[in-house]
Symmetry: none
Subunit: 249 residues, 2 copies
């Protein structure tokens, strides 16, 4: 069998099944795995497939995943994300909302971390999926196209059954008197339940949302354990929250 023939066959298989395994091909074509690997390498160099450990993937296969997410990462949110990620330890069950700060948290997770992340937010789930070692659980229900999160009775019931170690909420408003507030009723319900279902509640927000209000109440300051912003904890604007018994990072 000619080299080109073999490569054509491989390419055919890749396009057919979206993936090939070196070991399988080697056995099938009866050449050494070295040869297969060299072939895959060449085809990969020519851009005809994507080489991965153990075999190769078709290009169209991998395209799918990178489609939906183009969050412009602000430095402030990156800082918040890093502080938040540092709280998570191996083995934890972590419940999270959606939002850009949460996405940044997901990106800041150390690769070695082994934990379970539970969320109804599709962008968040997409980020968690990139991580090599964390277990990802999606809360199902009706999908809100705006918020890109699953909402509804089903989702709420599901979250109620969870007992998480940590809950990360990206919030849009926090106020010393009224606590955190929302402008979407369904999402407010979800966040309330998430708070109830977690041992510790962490709120993440950029500082400009501090001392702002929205119509729908989520929780009081007393329900919040940790508040994360991009500011250093001794910033004056955070003082009232520390005084209210919240740990500020």
């Amino acid at each position: 069998m000619l080299k080109k023939e073999r490569q054509a066959y491989i390419l055919h298989q890749v396009n057919l099944h979206n993936k090939v395994l070196s070991s399988l091909l080697s056995h099938e074509i009866r050449v050494s795995e070295d040869t297969i690997r060299r072939d895959l390498m060449e085809l990969s160099d020519e851009g005809k497939l994507i080489k991965v450990h153990g075999g190769a993937l078709s290009h169209s296969f991998n395209d799918v995943i990178y489609s939906g997410l183009s969050v412009y990462s602000q430095d402030q949110k990156k800082i918040i994300g890093q502080k938040a990620a540092a709280l998570i330890q191996d083995g934890m069950f972590v419940l999270t909302s959606g939002g850009t700060t949460i996405i940044e948290m997901a990106r800041a997770l150390p690769p070695a971390l082994r934990a379970t992340f539970i969320s109804g937010s599709i962008p968040a789930i997409l980020e968690y999926m990139q991580h090599p070692n964390i277990e990802v659980v999606m809360i199902g229900d009706r999908v809100s196209k705006n918020a890109k999160i699953t909402i509804g009775a089903e989702a709420i019931a599901k979250i109620k059954n969870i007992n998480a170690d940590l809950c990360f909420l990206g919030i849009n408003s926090i106020d010393i008197k009224r606590g955190t507030t929302e402008n979407d009723w369904e999402i407010a319900q979800l966040k309330k339940i998430m708070i109830d279902s977690s041992q510790k509640v962490v709120c993440c927000t950029i500082s400009e949302k501090i001392n702002t209000l929205q119509p729908i109440h989520i929780c009081n300051l007393s329900d919040i354990d940790i508040l994360i912003t991009e500011l250093p904890p001794d910033s004056p604007v955070l003082k009232p929250y520390i005084d209210a018994g919240i740990q500020v990072l």
Copy 2:
């Protein structure tokens, strides 16, 4: 034998078999391999074939096998997507698996369509979310990073409670004897349940996957109502499936 004769013979062989081996030709025509090589070189210079190490290939070989497939199969899938999308009517509840054909179906949905789509496939959900009028429901559970789909007991239980009008399955193997098969156990389970939970079952696949087998059984042909490929329904390869009582589009 004259040189021209020899070259004509070689060319004939190339066009007939899509490939020739220098060694074989040399033996066949009883000239030295050098001569064959020189012939191949000349023919290659004239653009009549493609010289490779060990022999030569016909042009059509490269055209068909190489450049064709990746783009071609995308087009094929678009055709499938359109046929599939045409089956859906306002008000329907539609259960779908993941896979590239399903994605194309999602893209082919008419903007005015009002229906409810239920799936555990994240790429599929992302597509459905782009649509202005359809309701999207996500099946929750553990996320399989490979398949980008939610899998597990929870997901299965959820699907069991659904009674959908239509079920679209992107399948990787269908065979006249064994029906449809899978190589992932969890996904096979999901597909089985989806079939049980739907009035009508539609299988979508490019024709290359017809009459192929994989290890895990999903369902028999009798469970399938409609089969969609990129081929016209009267293609010979589809005949056995029509005879088996499947509606082929």
